[in-house]
């Protein structure tokens, strides 16, 4: 019983630290990895509270798939949060909604 309590408290501290790190970090790649760590610890919590189906689902979907779609988004947008964009006029479109190359 005591062992259970210690494990839960240690995991809760790591969980909140990872959440604060995910929100405060300016480099988005590390923030996304911290979100993966949150899913991992959450899966362990679900197992401790006797819910094996939910733990399997959170592990399969939250750790692998959510992290990968975030990383693909970072690759297609900017890597850092405080990036100042280059001055660029927005693309103009013609009558058939095709983008006119400047």
């Amino acid at each position: 019983m005591m062992f259970n309590v210690i494990v839960i408290l240690v995991l809760a501290v790591i969980l909140l630290a990872a959440a604060v790190y995910a929100v405060a970090q300016k480099d988005l790649l590390y923030a996304v990895l911290a979100t993966g760590v949150i899913s991992l610890i959450l899966s362990v919590f679900f197992f401790i509270m006797q819910a094996p189906d939910v733990a399997l689902t959170e592990a399969a979907i939250g750790i692998a798939l959510t992290t990968i779609i975030f990383i693909i988004t970072i690759r297609n947008t900017s890597r850092r949060e405080d990036e100042v964009p280059v001055e660029h006029e927005p693309d103009r479109v013609d009558k058939e909604s095709k983008i006119i190359k400047q």
């Binding site: 094996p52 189906d53 733990a55 399997l56 689902t57 399969a60 692998a64 798939l65 990968i68 690759r75």
Partner: protein, 239 residues
Amino acid sequence: MKKLLVILLLAVVAYSLGTALMSVKFGENRLGKVQDEETVSAFYLNNTPEKLSVANVVTAIVVNYRGFDTLGEVSVLFLAAMGLGSILYHRHKEGEEEEAILKPSSQLVQAGSKLIFPAILVLGAYVFIHGHLTPGGGFQGGAIIATGFLLMMMAYKDYKVSHKVLTWVESIAGVTFAGIGMWGLIVSQSFLENTLPIGTLNNLFSGGIIPIIYVAVGFKVAAELTGVLDTLLNIKDKH
């Protein structure tokens, strides 16, 4: 100024959640006696091993007692995959060369992933076939299979998953799910009614329509998630 207001709002939310959770004691037994069936959960726990012969009560709830909600969830996943594909649509102009988005990976990764990919597929299939006996089910197995395809897509530069096959698999699985529901409606006047023979507890062929529906859901979720990942990984870079 805005930060102050937000912190005030967060304090109000924390206070209200905290006082509300003070009255919900952690670990208290709210089910009552299971045989008396005073609550809905007690009813599910009491009737699942006898009336349905299914070992996993969560599977019985998701597929049989609340099966219509699972049909809704599967259609939400389908809508998400469709929305993603249409938002990221890029018309291919002629003469535009297809540049690869990923660098080729090392020899170790390529050889290893070719070895481990069938094992991941078998694990995913095992999880969704035995969904009514052990923890698992359609969604978990589908996600595992999609992760296997993701491994192959990232190890090999030009690993293509045929979109036609994915579309057919997904459509047939969805039609199977809805078709079993309509069959229940025709035979015994209730959508998704359990009509096949029940069998004995802890057998592979038990539980009536529950394993069949979960196999269909497993295939559908695997095909959808693979399609989503394929769409995302093939975004052509503009610069």
